[in-house]
Structures are given as structure tokens and as C-alpha cells.
Subunit: 552 residues, 2 copies
């Protein structure tokens, strides 16, 4: 039996587009002699549809598309995913369903059993979990079909009290198929592949996984679908960040002594992987919202430099507009560095001084500011003057403003709300400052694109004379290690201290993080590339007291 796997880049709610992609893949698979083609979780509507699921019109449209796709399944059968109405009186009104479409009609259904409801997942908000599980007969074989999370409760060690593959195994399946929508984080891929491998090995069955591809608001899905033999060896791995369709012979996979593909992260692949993910994330956000062009403020610093390169790779140099906005404390080299980068990339740039606007603002405020020392308020005026000018250009010409903040500064609230925190999308908001440097290294690996001076000079917001980030913050390697331990590894203050950090520094950083939740609440969507993003997947109260967790 020949099985095709397809990872198209779907668009949530765009039924015409999604179904066209699916039908094209079905045709392609048929041409290639496949008897079955498998698509990812909720393929019909795209993932995650979020509260669109509460619209009955939306669900009915999904079901109409399933019927339409079924009609095209004459020569080849297909497994697609769609939300369905739950006919039971009790429970949530929907199910997360996989359909086997065959001979022009719906042949069988499987309902997802485990509803991930943690981090970025919120599936129990919508879906009733199934409590019975059956294999699906197909051409003399029994398919053990599951949806994403269903295979993650390995050996019942997880956060659920049922284990769908165990239930399916009682019916002696011949192969396992898992359709998934597992969001990208730079270090998540190997976990995902190991869980797949472990399932194949445990049940001694071949396993085919199709994982979703594409950027969807703040979540990035890398694709990277994979095939495992009954010993748990990975026999094939799809590319990440691109559409693909491949066909396999089931018996070859079962008996396959082909070359095993090792499950290891590239040794130095972190920043390159983040780069690729962010480029797809930016490209898809623009494409799916119908936008083409981007504008950003280019300061001569490292964050806006790397943001500009990401934007250029995602959208093409003709669609990128860099604006230099020198102010009273900008250094000459900043303007030079910014110009050099824009010219290296061949993108349009303009220079608009903020000095007059800042002076007008200061003059307007002077009767009320009289007798007060200049401070953060005056610094923020500069950042906000820049934002107003950038948004003016955005509104006039229809370019989306790209935010250029990094995760380290966002985490400690080192940014101006309605100033440099503006923008429609934040590509670096989940990238620590030290990794922004890593990305710059990747960018410059062939030739110097980002000027060396941008990389080597000490980071500064340039909002007052001789300002340096390190005046207010620990050095970035220390800060980033503390942040990663607190945010991603969920370590408490005492444990972070024990790991080798100064107690006062740890408390200071945690107080900055917990004290700036209100700023991040108004941040643009952040493209998620780590295990814990300061956006999707993190829900903190704004008016809580955090003292107990800081002073532990």
C-alpha cells in the first residue's frame, strides 16, 4: 500500500484556498500512485481557529468542505481533519475529528481524545474529548489513527488518565497514523520526533506523522512530518518551513532497512533555525492578512538591523522601507551604520529627524514639567515621537509597522509603551538579546551585511547622552540566563540563585519581569520560537502581588 503525506500551508478560515490546496495534493498523490493521502490536524479550516469555532456557520462550512473533498476521493482515499458537532447531550458542543474519505464519501471518523490545555493550547475550551477509540479498516489493513496530543501520554506518564494508542492497540492495528499541529520552538523538534519514534517502537508498528506547516498569527508550525519503522527508526523527515508531498510504500517502511535519520538538533543550529522560522512567520503574517509591505525604524542598533534582514528575506527588498529617525542623542555612527545596512540590502530608506517634534512636545509640556529634573518622561518622548512618525507613514502608505524589540528587553520592561513597543508584529520578541547577536552572525556568515560596528558597539537606547543598556540592566549573558531559567524552565528565585547567580541580581530581574506585565499586555503579537513566549501561552494577572514568588 502506498501512502502519501502532505503538509500544505493552510490559512485559517480561508476555505476556498485550503480546499484548493487539498484537492491539488489529492490529484498529485493519485498521479504518484498513492492509495491514501494524509493531511494534518484540522486541515479543512486551518489551525488554530480559536473562537471562530464558536460560530455554527464556521463549523457548517467546515463540514461542507469535508463533503466536497470526499467527492474528489475516488481513486485515492484521504485523511483530513475538521471540527464537528458533538451529537451527545452532555459535554462540549464540538469534537476535533479526523475523517477517512474514500469512494466519494465519508468512510470513517476518529475523534481526538486528549485535549491539550496548557501553554499555547486551549483545546478543552472548544472540544469534548473522545472516550472510546477504534481502529479504522482500510484495504485489508487496520489503521491506528490518532490526532496530535493523543500519542503524548506515553505509557500513561502524562497529564491524562487515558492513553488512546493503548486502546487502539487492542484491535491489532497494522500501522499508526498521527495527524498533528505541533507549534515550533527552536528546541521542540527533537522532542516531537522522539515521542513519535517512541510510539512506533513501543507498539512495534510503522508510524506516519503529518505535522502542520505555516505561520498563524503568533504561532509558527514548521511542518517536518516524519515516517518511522516498527523499531522506532526515523526513515524520512520532511523539510521544515516549506510545503511538500511525499509517497511511501507501507511494506517498505515496515521492512525498511533504509538509512536511519538521526534525531539530533544541529549543534550550532539554534539561531539559523530561529531565522528560518521567523522568515516564514513574517511572510505568512503578511500574506495571510493580505499585506505586502513593511516599514520599520532603523536605529543603527542590532535589533532593528536583524529585524530588517528578516523582513527583507520574508518579503523581498522591494517591499521593505527603513526609516532612520535620529534624535537629540543619536550618535553619528548610528546613522552611518543604518545607512550602510540599508544600502547593503538594497532597501529604500529615508531619514527624518525627530528633533523638531521632540522640541514641540517639550515646549508644550514645559509649563507643567517646570522645576522637575529631566528623566524617563523626556526619554519616552523621543521614542514616542518616532512611533508617531512611523505610524503616520504606515497609515498613509499602507505599510505594516514591524516592531523591533527583543525578548530580553521586553521581559524586563526596557522599552517605551506606544514608542518602540509599537508595531503590528514582533519578529524578535521571543529572541533573547544574546540570540539576536547569534542571528547577526548567521546573517553575516557569507559576507558582511550588518555592519561590524552595529555588532561590536555596546547596546544603547540612545535616549540620553552616553546611555548604555548596562547602566540599568545586568550584562545580557547574565540577564538572558536568568530570564531563560525563570520563564522557560520555570525555576524559582532560590533555584536560579543556586545555579550560580547573584541573589540581588536574580531578585532585581524577577521584580522587573513581574513589574512590567502591564506593558507586555499591550504588545504586538510576538512570533513564538522558544518554549515559553512573552505572549501566546503566558497569562499573568496585572494587579497581583508577586512578592511571594520573588522573595522565596
Amino acid at each position: 500500500m502506498r501512502i502519501a503525506l502532505a503538509q500544505p500551508n493552510y490559512h485559517v478560515g480561508n476555505f476556498k484556498y485550503n480546499t484548493a490546496l487539498t484537492l491539488r495534493a489529492i490529484q498529485d498523490a493519485e498521479k504518484k500512485g498513492a492509495e491514501l493521502i494524509v493531511f494534518p490536524e484540522l486541515s479543512v479550516c486551518g489551525y488554530p481557529p480559536r473562537d471562530l469555532l464558536f460560530s455554527d456557520v464556521f463549523i457548517r462550512e467546515c463540514l461542507r468542505q469535508v463533503e466536497k473533498i470526499a467527492e474528489a476521493c475516488r481513486g485515492v482515499a484521504a485523511i483530513v481533519g475538521s471540527p464537528t458537532f458533538n451529537p451527545e447531550q452532555n459535554g462540549k458542543s464540538l469534537r476535533n475529528t479526523a475523517f477517512l474519505l474514500q469512494n466519494g464519501r465519508i468512510q470513517a471518523t476518529y475523534h481526538k481524545g486528549l485535549m491539550p490545555t496548557y501553554d499555547v493550547f486551549n483545546e478543552y475550551r472548544y472540544f469534548e474529548p473522545a472516550d472510546t477509540f477504534h481502529t479504522i479498516p482500510f484495504k485489508g489493513r487496520r489503521i491506528g489513527l490518532t490526532v496530535c496530543e493523543d500519542i503524548w501520554n506515553l505509557q500513561n506518564q502524562g497529564m491524562y488518565s487515558v492513553n488512546p494508542p493503548d486502546e487502539l492497540f487492542r484491535e491489532n492495528p497494522d500501522l499508526l497514523i498521527n495527524i498533528s499541529a505541533s507549534p515550533f520552538a527552536w528546541n521542540h523538534g527533537p522532542n516531537r520526533l522522539r515521542v513519535l519514534s517512541e510510539n512506533a517502537r513501543l507498539y512495534k508498528l510503522p508510524l506516519f506523522n503529518v505535522n502542520l506547516l505555516g505561520g498563524q498569527t503568533d504561532l509558527i508550525f514548521e511542518g517536518g512530518s516524519a515516517v518511522f519503522n516498527p523499531q522506532g527508526k526515523m526513515m524520512d523527515l520532511f523539510p521544515s518551513f516549506e510545503e511538500a508531498l511525499r509517497v511511501y510504500d507501507l511494506d517498505e517502511v515496515i521492512n525498511g532497512r533504509g538509512k536511519e535519520i538521526p534525531i539530533v538538533p544541529e549543534n550550532d543550529g539554534k539561531c539559523r533555525l530561529m531565522m528560518d522560522a521567523l522568515v516564514m512567520g513574517v511572510r505568512d503574517y503578511f500574506r495571510k492578512t493580505g499585506l505586502k509591505q513593511v516599514i520599520l525604524g532603523l536605529s543603527g542598533g542590532i535589533d532593528s538591523a536583524v529585524s530588517l534582514v528578516v523582513a527583507e528575506k520574508a518579503l523581498g527588498k522591494e517591499n521593505v522601507w527603513a526609516v532612520l529617525l535620529p534624535g537629540p542623542h543619536s550618535s553619528d555612527h548610528s546613522v552611518d551604520d543604518a545607512v550602510a545596512l540599508a544600502e547593503n540590502l538594497g532597501v529604500r530608506y529615508d531619514i527624518i529627524s525627530i528633533n523638531d517634534t521632540v522640541s514641540s512636545l517639550e515646549k508644550s509640556l514645559s509649563p507643567l514639567f517646570k522645576g522637575k529634573e529631566p528623566g524617563v518622561a523626556e526619554e519616552n518622548l523621543q521614542a514616542r515621537a518616532r512611533a508617531v512618525i512611523l505610524m503616520g507613514l504606515s497609515n498613509k502608505f499602507g505599510h505594516l509597522l514591524l516592531n523591533t524589540s527583543n525578548k530580553s528587553e521586553a521581559a524586563v520592561g526596557y522599552g517605551t509603551l506606544y514608542g518602540d513597543m509599537c508595531g503590528g508584529l514582533s519578529p524578535l520578541g521571543d529572541v533573547y538579546k544574546t540570540d539576536v547577536y547569534g542571528m547577526a552572525k548567521v546573517i553575516n556568515s557569507q559576507q558582511e551585511i550588518i555592519p561590524e560596528n552595529t555588532i561590536s558597539k555596546p547596546p544603547s537606547a540612545e535616549l540620553r547622552p552616553d546611555q548604555k543598556d548596562s547602566d540599568s540592566l545586568p550584562e545580557y549573558d547574565v540577564l538572558d540566563d536568568i530570564l531563560c531559567k525563570f520563564l522557560e524552565e520555570n525555576m524559582d528565585a532560590a533555584s536560579i540563585e543556586e545555579s550560580g547567580h547573584d541573589s540581588a541580581t536574580v531578585r532585581k530581574v524577577l521584580r522587573l519581569v513581574t513589574g512590567s506585565e502591564h506593558k507586555r499586555r499591550q504588545s504586538p503579537p510576538v512570533l513564538r520560537v522558544t518554549a515559553k513566549c512573552l505572549g501566546a501561552g503566558r497569562e499573568m494577572p496585572l494587579e497581583a502581588s508577586y512578592e511571594a514568588i520573588i522573595n522565596c
Copy 2:
């Protein structure tokens, strides 16, 4: 047996403060001869703690406080709520627990069985639902203790497959106690009380409910704890929006032929109720974040006028600062109306023209804007110049900027991002324009506080000559009815049309709503006062296609 109910205003994570409130109430109850005092859901840490629950330090601190409160329970016993660790290997790592504290120690525990995970609730993110339920013996009686949602699966008609009160009823309880944290919406109170009454009536048992009090970021909890006799008659109802403690004789409630309190919403109480809720919401946000003073832009229009009155009632006139920011298209009467209101309230006001700043911005942009017709970009410059000045004052003097947008304009994206959409908190963001007028009527019911002209003139953003809201939008009574049906009643476009609206208008409004999700993503927290807020409880994808639900 004498039972006390207490609804203190807790502060999430502020253990010292919360435990002091609890201990004081225990003392008070003891003095009043109570044998048992009941506190609301998760009383020990406050509700909702959200992702603070993922901190083990936080949970351990909760448990330490439970022990501390237990030590004080010598004369009187107490029921308190706290998260606890789930000792089972499978399932979520926490439970949502109610404790009976008696004789200086933990006497019994009950774990919540139904985890609301919809709208503003996200409890399955954290808590494993209990699957066994037992009554708790106390002084010769059996208590059927439940936590909030547990009693909402009435007669198994709801979204769960278990019904905890049915399970408890098998053990013949003598009374029912429900501890809850049910968030306010102007029309939710009667639902809540009817469900409580129905449970009492169904099991023929007296029922005591303690509901949480206080504002917590965007959610408002009204209190309104209540007592029902075995016929389901409401025998007492706590005040809304204030702390209280009352003591009841159980036998009197069981036999009670006291005066029944009817469960009916006040006929014309909607806007007064919203007003009271918003005043508590604003007051608590400031108090719990440690802030005292507020600043807002006063335009002479109805939204900022009502916002100012809410702020003044919440924080006192000495803590409120109104700033008038006339621009090139502001009318004289706007300034006059704003001044009159500020003087009526006795709050500080200042007048700062934005004309110079707008001119500077226009001059800076003119080389790039050359040859383009003036439009939305120029209008937004004015709104953003105001925001930068207000934020400058906020940063300099430490006043929190209050957002003054209403729900109608927020819903259709009729507002400037980083302009009038700025602010740390949005008191009117869940109040339709027509209800803002209703609130103005309530405010002026004794004497004219808001100038009549502010109420009677046609709404305008005053960003271009002779601009009126009705140039771009349907009249507000039409708009608000469509919005309410779409957002709160979850009606589809075809049904809204059938209810008596013009088809083109319905589609236009729905397209404006779905096309402005990206703006609202960056809004300040909105105090929730309706069944569906444009903030907490609504999760829409930004880059989805919404055509299918608009064109149905």
C-alpha cells in the same frame, strides 16, 4: 448551628493581606456566635491567579496560609479555598480545593469537579477535575460542599458528564454550601441566583453561597452572596460591590418562613449597576497595583466625561487630573463643556494645545506626504499627539492614564491605535455608546454634572472639519443592536438580518469588527460588564479569513 458567610475583597498573591482579612473575619464570626464561617473559592490566594499557579513556590505559600488559618480555627470552623498539589501520577498537577478547618487543623478537603473552560474561564489549564465526591461531616450534620461550577451542570443538561451535587446527594447531606468566584456581567446576577435557587429546590436542602468580591485586572466580582431555603426561596442576599459578613441560624433557614427576596433585575438598573461595577473595578485596579492617581484626556465628548466621573467616584477628586488637548478641529464648545465638567466635579484640569506638535509632525512628514490627499493619517497624528502628551505627564508624575474608549467604537475599530486607544485601563471598553448615554443620565439624575451640551450634541471625534461619527458608522442604536447580537448573543449574519436589520449594514458592521481584531489585540485591559467583552474571554485569530462567517 450558626453559619457565617464572608465576602472580603482579596488581592491575588497578596498572602499577608488576604490572610489578615480572613483571620479578622474568623474573629468577627466567633464574636457573633458562629460555629462555621465560609469564604469564597480560592480565598487564600485570590481569584484568578492564572499562571501564577504554575509556580510551586506560589502553591506552597498557599498551603502555608491554609495551615496558618487552621491554627486560628479553635472556636469556629472555617471553609476556605486554595489550590493544592494533585498527588496522583496522572492528570494535571493541581486541584482546586475547599478545606474544612476545625480545631486548629485541616479536618476535611473537597476537590472541585467541573472545570469551566470557556469565555473568561480557563480552569482546565491548571486543575485536574475530581471524579469522586463526598459529603463532609460537621457537628452531627453532613455538608454537601461544592465549588462554583460544580452546581451548574443542573440535571446533567450542561457541558459536563458528571453532576457533583447528584453524587453528594446519595450521602444524604443536611445542607449545601457552594463557594464561588462568578464574574460580574450586568445581566448575570439573576442567572447565578436562579441556579443556586434551583439547586436548593431540587435537593430540598438549604443552600449557602459565598461569592467572591473585588476587581481583579479585567474581571469584576460583585459579591452578592446568598442564602436559600429548601424550597429554593432566597432568604438573604449580600450587597454587591462591598465587603460584608453575616451570620445565619441553620434551622431558621431550613424552617424559614421569612420574607422571600425576589430574584429580578431592577427594571431600569442596567446603567446604574454598570456604574457601580466600574467604580469598584477602577478603585480596585488602582489600590491593588499600588497606584493612587489618574490622568485622562477630557475632550468635551460623552465618553471622556463619563470616564472622568467614574474615576472621580472611584479615586476621589483629589486624585483625578483632567487634561484638555484642543487641536486644529476642536470646537470651542468642546473646551467649554470639558471645563464645565471639571469644575462641576472640582478636579484639577489643564489645557495644552496640540497644534504645535501636530504642525511639527506634519512638517517632518511633508516631504514624504507631498502630493497625497490629507486623510486618516493626518487625523491619527492628532490623536497620537494627544497620547504622547498624556503619557509624558503620566511618566513624569506617576498618574495612570485612563483610556476613554467605548465598546461600540472599539468593536468597529473606530479609534487610533497608540492614540485614543492608549491607557492603562479601559473602564468603558465593555459599555456600548448607547449605554454610555444611559450612564450619563444616571450621573445627572440628581443634578447636572455632565453638561447637557455634551449629552445632546452629535458624537464626533473632531479630527477633521464638521466630522460626525455618523459619517462613517450607522446610528449608534442600530450599531449597538447589531454588535450585541453578534458578540453577546453569538447570532450569525443571516439571523441578525432576519431580526430586522438591513443586510448591507449588518455585513458592513461585521466586516469592521473582524477587520479590527489586530487593533484590539493591543488594547488596555477592559473592565468586563457584559456577557462578552472585547478582551478577556474572546480569542480571535488575527490573520484568519472571516469571509465565511460574514457572507452567510
